[in-house]
């Protein structure tokens, strides 16, 4: 019974592809017209069904018994297609984001609002990157490749690195301000940070490097304390937090999958 369906969806020779694509487009438009005329009370259940089916694919793939020899079940081979499908759908929203940028900054430029030249710079940079990015990929023009290199390696990568490095400054002001012996918690936070900081640099390590290794007092060496903090205390605390997060994410996933979620987006009449 499935045979004709499978054959229908199988890859087709390139010569007839345009017809199939056109057919799919027309069919989809018809479905949309049908959806538009759907009675309002059927909308939510429809969305719930789509959500459920999408989740059901991954859930079934995970829970369905597997063939020992191949380590697969009947859905495993579709995982790659599913992830492509997800990327494709999510990727299509980028246009909406770009439209938001164009709308906000295009308006600034057209109406010459204060700072319009910044918006113009943004739009120019975007267009330049698009043009030279595509030329770099799809043409052999050497100048275009050089310009792209300046835009990408010279500007984008260096700007990434610079913003990242600003954290070094912020970490100084944050630790200066926050690490005060105000409360028990702040004191604990500060002491742990202080000990680890000492153990990070040679000047600090030198403070305890005279204690013989493998001796009785070995555990007082800063690097030993640091390793203990990180492998015993830290590992255990982070794992406990992670268990809570895991169960929380499981709960939310269930609620969304089964359309049990509540809150603004989910309760609105549509």
């Amino acid at each position: 019974m499935l045979e004709p369906l499978v054959r229908f969806f199988a890859p087709k020779p390139l010569s007839v592809i345009p017809y199939y694509v056109a057919g799919a487009v027309v069919f989809s438009i018809l479905v949309v017209i049908l959806l538009i005329n759907l009675p309002a009370r059927a909308r939510k259940p429809l969305i719930a069904i789509v959500t459920f089916l999408a989740g059901l694919f991954y859930a079934t793939e995970f829970f369905w018994p597997i063939d020992e020899a191949t380590n697969k079940n009947f859905l495993t081979d579709y995982l790659v297609s599913a992830s492509k499908l997800g990327s494709l759908l999510a990727g299509m929203t980028l246009t909406l984001g770009i439209l938001s940028l164009l709308r906000v900054h295009g308006r600034n430029v057209v109406r010459l609002r204060s700072g319009w030249y910044n918006s113009l710079a943004l739009l120019t940079a975007m267009v330049a990157m698009v043009i030279f990015g595509f030329m770099d990929k799809y043409s052999d023009n050497a100048t275009a490749k050089r310009v792209f290199n300046v835009l990408f390696e010279g500007m984008l990568i260096n700007m990434d690195a610079t913003m990242f490095s600003l954290i070094a400054f912020y970490i100084v002001s944050a630790s200066y301000r926050a690490f005060r012996i105000r409360s028990i918690e702040a004191t604990i936070l500060m002491t742990a940070a202080f000990l680890v900081m000492l153990a990070q640099v040679p000047v600090g390590l030198a403070l305890t490097s005279w204690i013989p290794r493998d001796g009785v007092w070995d555990f007082l060496r800063l690097e030993v304390i640091k390793e203990w903090l990180l492998t015993v205390l830290n590992a255990a605390a982070l794992r406990a937090i992670a268990f809570g997060l895991g169960i929380g994410s499981l709960a939310i996933s269930l609620r969304i999958w089964l359309s049990l979620e509540r809150g603004a987006y989910f309760e609105k009449e549509i």
Partner: protein, 219 residues
């Protein structure tokens, strides 16, 4: 001057990169016109790069090539389905955008089962640590036994901090939760302390870029 110009032409990326670095770094003094200008360029470049990446890494390999080179015409449906997103700005048919959004939500939710099993179950079995440990030559390893005990106590008390509905009922849980919170502060302090090194290395790299790569004042 002529020499500077020649040097610029021989390595324009480094010069422009240096100027970008200084412009963005000025933020730490205060937000200013130069920063603002480069911030906008940065966002523009990033947006342009995302568009190129979308075509190069998604539309081309997942849509165009399967359909027009391999004859997998059914991907057209996915594209048409994705177009429903654009109804989001429609007043009347806005709900149609909820179909692809719901689909993506379901996709994300459905994967949680596998992610949970892969992430947390190995951690659970790794937490089964014996409180009595012997070294390979048969001696009792007290240090490791004690560490394992501490590990377990920390794990349980920190978890008890995250009980939301049991707390009021039991004083024991309240105390244990308080202790758990303190241990978490130790952990957070330690994370803070270890991260400084990496961030300072980044700043050092920037300074090396300016004074070494660009200005060639250091070797």
């Amino acid at each position: 001057m002529e020499q500077l110009w020649q040097d610029f032409l021989s390595r324009p990326g480094i010069y422009i990169g240096g100027i970008c670095t200084l412009a963005l770094m000025s933020l730490i003094y205060r937000e200013n016109a130069v920063y603002r200008f480069f911030e906008h360029i940065f966002i523009g470049l990033a947006a342009g790069f995302s568009i190129v990446a979308l075509v190069k890494n998604i539309l081309d390999p997942f849509l165009y090539r399967p359909v027009f080179e391999k004859g997998e015409w059914y991907w057209t449906f996915v594209f048409m389905f994705g177009l429903l997103f654009y109804f989001i700005h429609s007043r009347k048919y806005n709900w149609l955008s909820r179909l692809p959004i719901g689909f993506l939500m379901g996709f994300s939710a459905g994967q949680t089962f596998q992610i949970f099993a892969n992430t947390y179950l190995p951690q659970l079995s790794d937490s089964f640590r014996p409180l009595y440990v012997t070294t390979p030559d048969g001696a009792v390893d007290i240090a490791r036994g004690v560490n394992n005990l501490i590990f377990m106590i920390v794990l349980v008390t920190v978890m008890s901090y995250f009980f939301f509905s049991f707390e009021q009922k039991s004083r024991a849980i309240r105390n244990s939760a308080q202790f758990g919170r303190w241990v978490m502060m130790v952990a957070f302090g330690a994370i803070f302390g270890t991260t400084i090194m990496a961030r300072m290395a980044l700043l050092f790299d920037r300074m090396y870029y300016i004074f070494g790569d660009w200005l060639r004042l250091v070797r």
